[in-house]
């Protein structure tokens, strides 16, 4: 191309079946789930745009390309979509598209919402010469309260020696305690061990890592599950490091192949233990959320409506409420901490607290909405009370429904005077 090549390639993994989403993603594919009235994938694209990334490889499943193109069209980012089979692991996907990657590369999960300074991480990657830089986020306890418990949370134990990732374990393979091995302790004698770190799934990799992935077909299938632990271990285990150095050395002396004997004498000793895995901890005031569970979906929505820079310009702000033209707040209305979509009509006094309402919704009189997410084209008739509930597209709620901690799936009609707690509407009818 005419343009100067960016030194790093970007790979967005926009597949993912959203298996941990309970029901949400079976109606709407995960990349298009509306988070604060925007498709999830758009956040990643916007993030890349903001960091001046001109081009990205997007990997997704067949059938989703068009809608992804649509999202990208609005933004100044050029995308190259590849489709893969949905049952591949994240590293398998990289193996599939390996031919398209010829430099150091970044892997971003399509479900990441963040505003960390990408160029800073890139600098760290470049300067440290590390095999991998990963984005980590320490979760605050306050955030995680108040929200329904996840059924299946993949917990990680992350050990950090200053900014170096010294340990990366998932609780599933560690049994009843976090195993620490003696040789490891000798080499890394002081480190911080976090159980509340989440992996942002934004990785900077050296190019040789791709070769490693290609070679180890059997043993590396997921980035988080296989590749990252392997790289992290290699830092402190000379044997693994030695093996991996096969891959890394080729790269470090691309022009000196003729001097291979010299290289072995001089190079190996220094290179051998030089695999570095660096962590970038999300600063306190910035966001790093992954929307990969039902719970995190709720959390993302509620975090975003609490004042942050992600909204489109069309919406304007009145006190703590974001809304569109044509919507007016009158005296006596109780609207707080909420995001209201386009073309919303609410008759009578309005009572919306801490909620997200999508486009084209019609809401009747005396409706109370609290801590809830309402997607597009929803009709809510008079006298409904909706608390801690997710209502998906094109749902009709008949009069005087009272829903607490429910999920209403697409195209459902909830009969009048329903009064339920903790229920998923429309579960049986689909599967």
């Amino acid at each position: 191309m005419d343009k100067i090549q960016s030194p790093i390639q970007f790979v967005v993994l926009a597949g993912g079946t959203g298996s941990r989403f309970d029901t949400l993603s079976s109606d709407i594919p995960k990349p298009f789930l509306p988070v604060a009235n925007k498709p999830l994938l758009q956040y990643v694209f916007e993030f890349l745009c903001k960091s001046n990334v001109p081009k990205a490889l997007v990997v997704t499943h067949s059938g989703l390309q068009q809608r992804i193109h649509k999202i990208a069209e609005k933004l100044s980012i050029e995308i190259d979509i590849t489709t893969v089979s949905p049952d591949l692991g994240t590293a398998d996907v990289l193996r599939e598209i390996a031919s398209k990657i010829d430099r150091d590369f970044v892997v971003i999960s399509g479900d990441l919402i963040t505003n960390v300074p990408l160029h800073e991480i890139a600098d760290i990657h470049r300067v440290s010469g590390s095999a991998m830089v990963m984005l980590l986020n320490e979760e605050n306890e306050e955030n995680s309260k108040k929200i329904r418990k996840d059924k299946l949370v993949s917990k990680h134990f992350v050990g950090l020696d200053k900014d170096r990732v010294a340990m990366f374990l998932s609780s599933f393979d560690s049994g009843k305690s976090v195993k620490l091995r003696k040789p490891f302790l000798e080499k890394c004698s002081e480190f911080e061990l976090y159980s509340n770190m989440t992996d942002g799934h934004l990785y900077f990799f050296k190019h040789w890592v791709l070769r490693l992935i290609e070679k180890k077909k059997k043993s590396i299938s997921s980035i988080q599950g296989d590749l990252v632990p392997l790289l992290v271990k290699a830092q402190f285990n000379p044997k693994i490091a030695k093996r991996l150095s096969k891959y890394s050395q080729e790269e470090q002396y691309p022009n000196f192949k003729g001097f291979s004997s010299l290289e072995e004498e001089v190079g190996t000793e220094n290179q051998q233990f030089n695999i570095k895995c660096i962590a970038y901890k999300t600063p306190r005031d910035l966001l790093c959320m992954r929307v990969n569970t039902f719970n995190s979906y709720l959390r993302a929505n509620f975090t975003l409506i609490n004042g942050n820079p992600f909204f489109s310009r069309e919406a304007y702000r009145y006190k703590t409420v974001y809304m569109h033209k044509g919507f007016k707040i009158q005296e006596g209305d109780e609207i707080e901490n909420s995001l209201l979509g386009k073309e919303l009509t609410i008759s009578g006094t309005k009572n919306v607290i801490n909620s997200v309402i999508g486009e084209n919704c019609t809401i009747g009189e005396n409706v109370k909405i609290e801590n809830s997410i309402i997607m597009n084209n929803v009709k809510i008739q008079d006298g409904c009370q909706i608390i801690d509930t997710v209502i998906m597209n094109s749902v009709i709620l008949e009069e005087n429904c009272r829903l607490t901690q429910c999920t209403v799936r697409i195209n459902q009609t909830v009969e009048k005077d329903t009064n339920t707690k903790n229920y998923i509407f429309g579960e049986e009818s689909f599967y």
Binding site: S177, L180, R181, L185, D226, K239, I240
Partner: protein, 786 residues
């Protein structure tokens, strides 16, 4: 306010181990730079604003009270020093209990060992501790720890010293996980998951030294349990009850300053050197305030008092300290050496890394290295003494070379009763107190310990004191460990290696000794050289008994009863498993138990041998049905044999691997098992290379090991008839291996594809990495044990 600021400290004089016992009755009288260490401890406490110091002495000897009187003099009247006998206290906790019973302790107090030497400032910490305690009375203990440089374990640091592994809540500094001694613990390490509920992020330290400074609240007595003995026990109890949250323990890791405890000879030497090198500033020798010394500072960390008489051409190297009225003869040299007052040292004496106490006489031409020499010792001329401890009043009257001994002036072996009496008086021997106080609880332990003690004494009797020390000398050997056990061993090995002059570059994978012994065995056991080497190897064997992979001895003689039994046991288990198709894990654990019972490590080799044996039987069975009793082995039998063996290895390679992972030298055994077997068995011979390939492909054995083994084959072996038939193939294979090791990239591709056939199913590479880590761990442990 006065009440609030009042701070007590309790100094536990005896540290309840007998490491330094050969030279001083009480550890706190150990002289560091000619000054009893207790003075340093008291200086440290006074510096940190302690108003009342309770010194637990254990006895009421006049020496101790003199020492305390001296302490009072130099510290001034602001600080009260209270002696506290606590005669039959057996452990730190006992001392505390007793002190409390006698109402000595009033409020918060510091707990330090009597052999502490430090310059850190903990005033702030004490203040903070008190504040925290006001907020939450559950704060009862603060541990003050110090980072130790991990690289600096040997040789000065006591290799046996415990290294704790602790986990601290990052924000609150609360101790939540504690492993007393992680290097020597057999248990699995790591904080349990339940901790993370309350403490989401921990800071893990494995690089702390046991400085043993504690700030205690008076409420600490609430968490003492009957069987608590050391502070570590107390901590464990407190953590054990973490759910009830009766007690909170905080940890502060000190960044600046120096702190160390002197509880062994190496640490005594190390601390002395650190003092000379001024790491403990402002505590330096020329400060002269601790005692009535008058040191002056000379160049290169050299210190001298007045009235020192030096002969001509004396070389005084770095890190030396010479006390008052010392006489040193012409041409002597000293380096890293401390000499107390009134010593007389002759001509041409060479001293390196020595600590010499009061009034010692050393005659001409003596060489001293790595020694600690007690008061009034006499050493005859021309003696060479290395790595030794000589107790007070030892006299050596002959020209002797003495290495690696601790020598006492009393005979511990003959003075059984007397020595125990002495120990009771000192209130410091574990066994005896155990009997006294905890008779019912620890009966078994006591017996064991007593047995140990007796055994040791037996050993002592075996020493030929007279021949080692000379007829007219006065002194008895206590043990043959010397000061630096490990260093010496290494030296010996090196020497041994040099003698044998194996010139090949040994791979990193083996520790020297292992490598060496393996080589040795090969020589001993090569099939054609049996007879010629038999006589030589007998001697070798005796020496090498411990290292010798016994599986070979069995091949040769078939006599080793115990080994036979052990092999049979495994065979029974293995066959059972074959019949009933047990799980592999079960088999592994069974075999491991057997191995442990017989104290064997080569289970992998035995299993492999068994597999070959079973395959052989199998093939002969089928053989006998087809062609009866032909002497030549039929082709079918060969193929049958290989097939069977192959399938068995496929099935059970996990088992072999399990036992090989401890070290690659065991893998070397494996290769040799195959070699031996194939050499002896015609059926197997042609498959030899295939077997090698097999175990290589299954990643049981590494390339390097194989290549090393091949390179180490000696000529005699190579000349044997059977060997020549396979030589060609073998060489091909080795070249293949070398290629595999050297080349990367495309070549590995092919290799990999081949490998993948075997990777299917249960085999996962990640697992392998785990195991490798174990490898390392095991090697590591071995190292430590050496």
């Amino acid at each position: 306010m006065d009440q609030d600021d009042y701070l007590q400290a309790i100094v536990v004089g005896c540290d309840f181990t007998d490491d330094l016992r050969q030279i001083t009755p009480q550890p706190f009288q150990t002289k560091i730079l000619n000054i009893p260490i207790l003075k340093y401890t008291i200086e440290f406490l006074a510096f940190n604003g302690v108003q009342e110091i309770i010194v637990h002495t254990g006895t009421s000897s006049s020496e101790t009270s003199d020492l305390l009187q001296e302490c009072r003099e130099f510290i001034g009247s602001k600080v009260k020093i209270i002696p506290f006998e606590g005669v039959d206290c057996t452990c730190t906790v006992d001392v505390l209990r007793r002190a409390q019973e006698e109402l000595l302790l009033k409020k918060d107090f510091l707990l330090v060992p009597g052999c502490l030497i430090s310059n850190i400032d903990i005033k702030d910490l004490v203040m903070r501790f008190k504040k925290r305690k006001k907020k939450d009375p559950r704060n009862i203990l603060e541990i003050i720890a110090k980072r130790s440089p991990t690289t600096n374990i040997s040789p000065y640091q006591n290799s046996e010293s415990a290294r704790p592994l602790i986990g601290v809540n990052k924000k609150t500094r609360e101790l939540v996980y504690f492993e007393e001694d992680y290097l020597n613990s057999k248990a699995k390490l790591g904080p349990p998951l339940s901790i993370f509920k309350d403490h989401p992020s921990l800071k893990i330290y494995s690089n702390l030294t046991d400085v043993n400074i504690y700030i205690c609240s008076i409420d600490i007595f609430s968490i003492f349990e009957i069987d608590s003995r050391t502070m570590n026990d107390v901590i464990n109890v407190a953590l054990g009850n973490a759910e009830i949250q009766t007690a909170k323990i905080t940890v502060t890791v000190f960044e600046k300053g120096y702190a160390a405890t002197v509880n062994s000879f190496p640490s005594m030497y190390k601390v002395s050197m650190d003092l000379l090198m001024r790491w403990l500033f402002p505590i330096v020798p020329e400060m002269n305030s601790l005692s009535n010394t008058n040191f002056r500072y000379y160049r290169s960390f050299s210190y001298r008092e007045d009235k020192v008489e030096l002969g001509k051409k004396i070389k005084i190297g770095e890190n030396t300290l010479i006390g008052q009225s010392v006489k040193i003869g012409h041409n002597s040299s000293l380096k890293n050496t401390i000499i107390d007052r009134n010593c007389t040292i002759g001509e041409n004496v060479k001293m390196k890394n020595c600590i010499i106490w009061y009034g010692v006489t050393i005659e001409d031409n003596v060489v001293l290295e790595d020694c600690v020499i007690g008061d009034h010792v006499f050493i005859n001329k021309n003696c060479v003494i290395k790595n030794c401890v000589l107790d007070n009043d030892t006299i050596i009257r002959e020209e002797k070379t003495i290495e690696n001994y601790k020598i006492c002036s009393q005979d511990f072996s003959n003075l059984k009763l007397k020595s125990t009496e002495i120990e009771i008086e000192e209130g410091s021997n574990y066994d005896i107190e155990d009997e006294g106080n905890y008779d019912d609880d620890d009966d078994d332990d006591d017996e064991n310990e007593n047995d140990d003690e007796n055994e040791r004494k037996k050993k002592l009797k075996e020493f030929d004191h007279k021949s080692i020390l000379g007829e007219n000398s006065k002194g008895f050997i206590y043990d043959n460990k010397g000061i630096y056990q490990r260093k010496i061993n290494e030296k010996k090995q090196q020497e041994a290696k040099e003698i044998e002059s194996y010139s090949t570059s040994s791979s990193e994978e083996y520790s020297d000794s292992e490598y060496y012994s393996d080589r040795q065995n090969e020589v001993n056991n090569s099939p054609n050289s049996n007879d010629s080497l038999e006589s030589n190897s007998d001697i070798e064997k005796d020496k090498q008994n411990d290292f010798m992979p016994k599986v070979f001895r069995n091949f040769e003689n078939g006599i080793e009863d115990e080994y036979d039994e052990y092999e049979k046991q495994i065979e029974i288990i293995f066959r059972k498993c074959l019949d009933k198709n047990y799980e592999i894990e079960f088999l592994v654990s069974e075999i491991r138990t057997t191995g442990i019972a017989y104290r064997m490590t080569d289970m992998g080799s035995v299993v492999l041998k068994l597999i070959l044996k079973i395959a052989n039987e199998h093939s002969s069975q089928t053989d006998s049905t087809t062609s009866n009793s032909s002497l030549e082995v039929s082709k079918d039998a060969k193929i049958n044999f290989f097939k069977k063996a192959n399938s068995l290895i496929d099935q059970y390679f996990g088992v072999i691997k399990e036992f090989i992972k401890e070290s690659q030298s065991l893998a070397l055994d494996l290769i040799q098992v195959i070699f031996r077997y194939c050499m002896d068995n015609e059926k197997a011979l042609s498959w030899y290379v295939h077997f090698l390939k097999k175990i290589y492909d299954l990643e049981i054995v590494e390339e390097e090991t194989m290549i090393n083994w091949f390179n180490s084959l000696d000529e005699k072996k190579k000349n044997s008839e059977s060997f020549q038939s396979i030589q060609e193939n073998l060489e091909k294979f080795v070249t293949f291996l070398q290629d595999a090791e050297e080349e990367s990239g495309e070549d590995e591709d092919e290799e990999y594809d081949e490998d993948e056939e075997y990777y299917e199913g249960e085999y996962d590479e990640n697992e392998e990495y785990d195991e490798e880590e174990y490898d390392e761990e095991e090697e590591y442990v071995e190292e430590e044990e050496n």
